[in-house]
Amino acid sequence: MRSMTRSLLLALAVAVTAAVPAPAQATFAEDAPKPAVPSGAKPDEKKPDEKKDEKKDEKKKDEKKDRWLAILNGDVHTLADGVLRGATVVCKNGKIHAIGQGLAAPAEAATIDATGMHVYPGLIAVNSGGVVGPEPVELTTDVFAYNMTFGLACGWTTVASGNSAGKLTYGTLDGLLLRNNLWLRMSYQSGDERRRVRDELEAAREFLRKKRLFDQLKAQQLPAEEPKPEGVNGEMLRLLSGGALARFDAFTAEDLGSIAKLVTEYGFKAVVFGANEGWVVADQLGRAGISCVITPMTARVERDARLNRPNGSTIENAALLWQHGVKVAVIPETPRLGSDGMIDRDLRTPTLEAALAVRGGLPREAAEAALTINAARVLGIDDRVGSIELGKDADLIVLDRELLDYESFVHYAVVNGRLAYDKDKEPLFRALRPRPSTYQEPKPVEPPKEEKKDEKKEEKPAEEKPADPPADAKPAEPPPEKKDEKKDGK
């Protein structure tokens, strides 16, 4: 399989718009230019756009060459759409460009041969210290720091620091800051706090009601007085109109229940950090649509028999929350790298935490999601990272076993489409179960003429072929052969 793809790769010299799927499983990023339309699609409608896109691309290329990276033939755990066995992920300019089985990578792409390995989205730490710098992360982060390599070696590609999310872009400042102002931190514990929060929310809601009424009247061209947001907390307005995410830190069932009530009443997006007794009020949290960040096994809190309700901590917390539809993200007990000892519960052992949740009954997929897509949801960055989907950031890790396997090692970490960590090249884990690196730097594109002959020879077995010329030739014009070929294919 692999060698065939390789020969195809060389033979076809697929360049700019190279990645061509086997029709069944492959998908393309919508915003990215499409090389050849999969057989099922309507080619005619999309062609003008394609041309435009390609011309744009050509212009860009004059300034800077496209950056390609392909991870070949791994088991791709997309965390969005199941597992694709033996599939290739093609990244272009830091975004995921194509995913599918039997994809050919562009000739000038850097490649990682992941045959027999597992490809996951990079892990996301919802809290961290010492991996990227304190805020402003884009200025304080040391991108050559030892901790950054270490973090990547443990699988993290995105970490929250303070109220910002930063990426582990080893060796470059490009794309380091993912997002600022992740949450609106809210305190809802004491009576005073609760009264204040409710008052502010009420005022904000009242203002929004008036505003809506005003808008309606205005639309009907009726006389109305525009309400003024005086004395209304702007952040609460942002929260109620869906522009912000509220973050609570709460542990007991009582606190969690009242937060659930508040969120249900006012209807805003919220996450709760801690949630040790979340399992007691899991139904309420689930109905309120609250996400929880938990540490599956914390210092044990014994059941207090005096309370006439279920209480205390349990390892089943994650599983019970998940069963009630709560999005669960997992974070190690100490959100830092490198405390002492071999297996401490810190950022070096993300999968241990998830595995503990599995021990408590959480399904494997949900545990994987707890480190990736659900963690992204908790930070409100799931539009950029957290799963292997088209158009998302190319933050990927390649492991020799499945993520939650205790024997698994991260062999490659890709951040923004750049290889940021290679186990075989770093002294860190190089000596442990060594495996020679399969990473290959991008090669210069070979001349196209000879290859076209080969292309025709090999045309028969494959279902569909790209006939795009290599980048150097004429990337802008879709060659006339393309159409013919499609007809042939049909």
Binding site: L139, T140, T141, D142, V143, F144, Y146, F150, G171, L173
Partner: protein, 483 residues
């Protein structure tokens, strides 16, 4: 770059401090000939058995057979090696170090420069003839550096009292912002001045045109009605408008210089000269920098590799003359990943530094890589990648100064090319402190600041024998001294 003469009192004081050497009387040329066993010129040449002729403190001739002029002092360094004096690019010798945070580019080291007699002897005794005295502290933009000689060869101690602007780019969160603000601030000032100038010139032009018109009208009037009365008014009007509004773009400063209250003549004179709006003294050096005034540059202290990336981003926006001084972390003690002695990461940016042909000042050390005991030779990597590397002692301690040549030799042992190392001691070091026109190499026309060593400078057994500054012997090894 002002070759000092403006600070006369200070210069006198310095001369007194250094033991006032008598100048050659006018007309009497002072010649010194040095017979060198080997001469390392610093330009890449190494010559054996040549004579170096110095005339009035400057190198006059280098050759194997030179006819010496009659009154000529001869220094016989027959079995020895002669090379340019060492240059210390980051010194605080004779100065008290203190912290000066914030943006203080208006301050100068020259203002705190009052060396005691013999203050530079430790440097002199280690072969250093030139020092760049840097602005104090380890944060912010503490001021302008100065370049001095370690001994008075007849021209005083000060070479340049208006040297590079020192800036730190270590904690990017503060430092990068401060630098960016200073540079954008300077650009703003330049824009402001250009705008004022354009306005001024437009006004001047308009006034001239008006004057012409008036004159034409006057002529017409004279032709039409040669009476005296109507003439007076139009004549007065053109005089006042240019006199009145013209200084306005000049701002408040324009009013201050000798402004006689009445009288048409001085007012007209003032109107001709454009008075730029005042620039805050803190921004003045940055204005010069942005305008690429010769002799101005930024001496940037960098932390690790990441701070160089920040510098590149800054430099993308504001392209200015600069010298980089990244911190080389010495391989010393046990390397530790998370605490204690940290490794360097500078070698990761060697390619970029070379690609940009940076002028880099480095301490002569090999370093550990992060979290390991793998040694890496950062100066060698930078030089091999194509950067211009200058080596400088890591501090002013006698130990650092005395072991300097040995440390450089260790770098050569660890893979640095000998040619790169010699250039780093001579040519590039002079470039790094902006005095390469007069110092750094031994070529005709340059100052005769040189040292005489008993063996090759990179030989651990080499001993300093004599130091000449401006062609005068400033330091000699005592008869019993071992070093």
């Amino acid at each position: 770059m002002g070759i000092v003469s403006s600070r006369l009192p200070l210069a006198l004081l310095l001369a007194a401090a250094a033991g006032a050497t008598a100048r050659a009387a006018d007309g009497d040329d002072r010649y010194v000939a040095i017979r060198c066993g080997k001469l390392i010129t610093g330009t890449g040449d190494e010559k054996s058995g040549v004579t170096l002729l110095v005339k009035n403190g400057k190198v006059e001739l280098i050759g194997e057979k030179i006819e010496l002029p009659h009154p000529c002092e001869v220094i016989d360094a027959g079995g020895m090696v002669v090379m340019p004096g060492h240059i210390h690019a980051h010194s605080r010798l004779s100065l008290v170090d203190f912290q000066r945070p914030g943006m203080r580019a208006d301050l100068k080291v020259a203002d705190e420069f009052l060396p005691a007699p013999g203050a530079f002897t430790p440097a002199l005794a280690a072969g250093f003839t030139t020092l760049q005295l840097v602005a104090p502290g380890s944060s912010g933009i503490p001021g302008r550096c100065m370049v001095v000689r370690t001994a008075d060869g007849g021209d005083g101690l000060v070479i340049d009292d208006d040297g590079a602007i020192k800036a730190h780019l270590i904690a990017a969160a503060q430092d990068r912002r401060m630098l960016a603000e200073a540079l954008t601030g300077a650009k703003r000032e330049i824009e402001k001045r250009d705008k004022a100038k354009a306005e001024f010139e437009a006004k001047k032009k308009a006034a001239e045109e008006q004057k012409k018109k008036e004159e034409e009208a006057k002529k017409a009037q004279q032709q039409g009605a040669p009476q005296g009365q109507p003439q007076g008014q139009p004549q007065g009007q053109p005089g006042t408008p240019p006199g009145g509004p013209a200084p306005a773009p000049g701002g408040p400063k324009a009013g201050e210089p000798p402004a006689p209250p009445a009288g048409a003549k001085p007012e007209e004179k003032k109107e001709e000269a454009f008075q730029p709006p005042p620039i805050p003294p803190q921004l003045q050096p940055f204005v010069d920098l942005v305008e690429k005034k010769p002799g101005t540059s930024l001496f940037v202290k960098l932390g690790g590799a990441t701070s160089y990336l920040h510098w590149l981003e800054l430099h993308k926006e504001h392209e200015v003359a600069h010298v980089l001084y990244p911190e080389v972390i010495r391989a010393q003690g046990y390397p530790q990943a998370f605490s204690g002695v940290s490794g360097t990461d500078l070698h990761w940016i060697a390619d970029k530094v070379g690609e940009n042909k940076e002028l880099v000042v480095l301490a002569p050390w090999t370093s550990y890589t992060q979290g390991s005991i793998d040694l890496v030779n950062v100066p060698a990597k930078f030089a091999a990648a194509g950067a211009r590397v200058a080596l400088t002692p890591f501090s002013d301690s006698t130990d650092a100064l005395q072991s300097f040549r040995f440390q450089v030799a260790e770098l050569v042992k660890a893979g640095m090319k000998r040619g790169d190392a010699i250039a780093a001691l001579t040519k590039h070091a002079a470039e790094a402190i902006g005095v390469d026109a007069q110092l750094g190499t031994l070529e005709p026309g340059k100052e005769a600041n040189l040292i005489v060593l008993t063996a090759d400078p990179l030989d651990a057994q080499a001993t300093l024998d004599q130091v000449l500054v401006g062609g005068r012997v400033a330091w000699t090894r005592g008869p019993k001294a071992r070093s």
